[in-house]
């Protein structure tokens, strides 16, 4: 799946079973991220599909 990271502006290609797994692989604490698929929020325990495009919104403020 394609994963777009708001904080760094980067895009990565990954395999993950669910949101929690994805965040773990990216080493992003759950408290710092919101997952979005097709403009809808995905909770960490929701299953992800290989064909998904996921946006990770950054929760931390900029300063």
């Amino acid at each position: 799946m394609k994963v777009y990271l708001e904080r760094t502006g980067k895009e990565v290609e990954l395999r993950a079973t669910d949101g929690r797994d994805l965040l773990k692989q990216l080493k992003i604490p759950e408290a710092e991220a919101i997952l979005v698929r097709n403009n809808e929020v995905v909770l960490p325990d929701e299953a992800l599909r290989e064909t998904d495009d996921i946006h990770i919104l950054s929760v931390v403020s900029g300063g």
């Binding site: 708001e6 904080r7 604490p29 759950e30 408290a31 710092e32 919101i34 979005v36 809808e40 929020v41 909770l43 325990d45 929701e46 919104l57 950054s58 929760v59 931390v60 403020s61 900029g62 300063g63």
Partner: protein, 304 residues
């Protein structure tokens, strides 16, 4: 995962899973409760919202503007332009658009105007000659600029977008750095309420987490251009923040516990440290301060 109403959840917090409608509702209720419980805004106030265009400031501006409109309380927004290239201009553009849409009066005060230099211009000298991190200078100048301008524009309350994350960080930072007395001036209402030179600062997002404000913006379709200040990594705060977020992810609720622990000792902190400090008036600008010259004026002189 589903909300109690049966719809798909967009958020899972300590109170359980919530759908979009019930999540938005929960944030709005929490803010309204905080305003009432701590008497943050009252009839007769003129409200100034300190806004940067970042997510917290848009949420607080939106909710407080709704509150003030329905209670017939005058409000305006005030932004500080520190002069940080590649960062502030983005958030200020978002803020201007937001205020135009919501028909909110917006004032901007810049470091350049007030101190003759942008933060970018001060930054190097401050670090090299005085070992002062940009955030230290930025914080002192921002606080002073906001207070002076808000007062000049007739505000009786200064609303800030400080959230639960900010507060838990500040408390822990003061503990870790051995500045326990500084904690006496945290809380939902700050500023020296008995000193009329300071406009009292209040925090309606006190019990709202950063994650909640980000989600609120997303669900409401508020446009925020994610931008990070280039100096943020130099701050002690960012270290504490990262650590707290790691902990929160493993042990949900720790940030809340930190703030509740703080609130439970706040009255004691206040009685212990209040009155210890005697306030004089700054020789240069007339603001209250503990010495002869206030921090902002001292910094201004060093960096000029």
């Amino acid at each position: 995962m589903e909300c109690a109403c049966g719809k798909k959840a967009v958020y899972k917090g300590q109170g359980g899973a919530l759908c979009q409608t019930h999540f938005l509702d929960s944030v709005e209720k929490k803010v309204e409760r905080t305003i009432h419980e701590y008497g943050l805004i009252k009839k007769g106030d003129t409200v100034c919202v300190a806004a940067s265009g970042g997510k917290d400031s848009l949420v607080v501006l939106f909710l407080v503007n709704n509150y003030c409109s329905s209670h017939d309380i005058p409000l305006f927004a005030l932004a500080v332009d520190e002069g940080i290239e590649g960062y502030r201009e983005h958030t200020l553009t978002d803020l201007k658009t937001f205020c135009e849409k919501g028909k909110i009066a917006l004032h901007v005060v810049s470091f350049k105007e007030s101190y003759g230099k942008t933060l970018d211009e001060i930054h190097e000298k401050a670090l090299k000659q005085f070992n002062k991190k940009p955030c230290t200078v930025c914080g002192v100048f921002r606080r002073t600029s906001l207070n002076r301008k808000a007062k000049e524009l007739g505000a009786t309350k200064l609303i800030t977008g400080h959230n639960l994350d900010d507060e838990s960080q500040s408390f822990l930072m003061n503990v870790l750095l051995g500045n326990m007395s500084h904690n006496a001036s945290l809380g939902p209402v700050t500023g020296l309420s008995d000193n009329e030179s300071f406009v009292p600062r209040v925090k309606p997002l006190y019990f709202v987490t950063e994650k909640e404000t980000r989600l609120y913006c997303f669900l409401k379709g508020f446009k925020i251009d994610f931008a990070e200040c280039p100096n943020v990594h130099l701050s002690f705060r960012s270290r504490v923040r990262d650590w707290l977020n790691q902990m929160e992810s493993e042990f949900p609720g720790v940030k809340n516990s930190v703030v509740n622990a703080f609130l439970s000792i706040l009255p004691d902190l206040k009685s212990k440290y209040k009155g210890k400090k005697e306030f004089k008036t700054c020789e240069r600008c007339g603001d209250p301060c503990s010495g002869d010259v206030c921090n902002a004026c001292k910094l201004e002189e060093q960096l000029s």
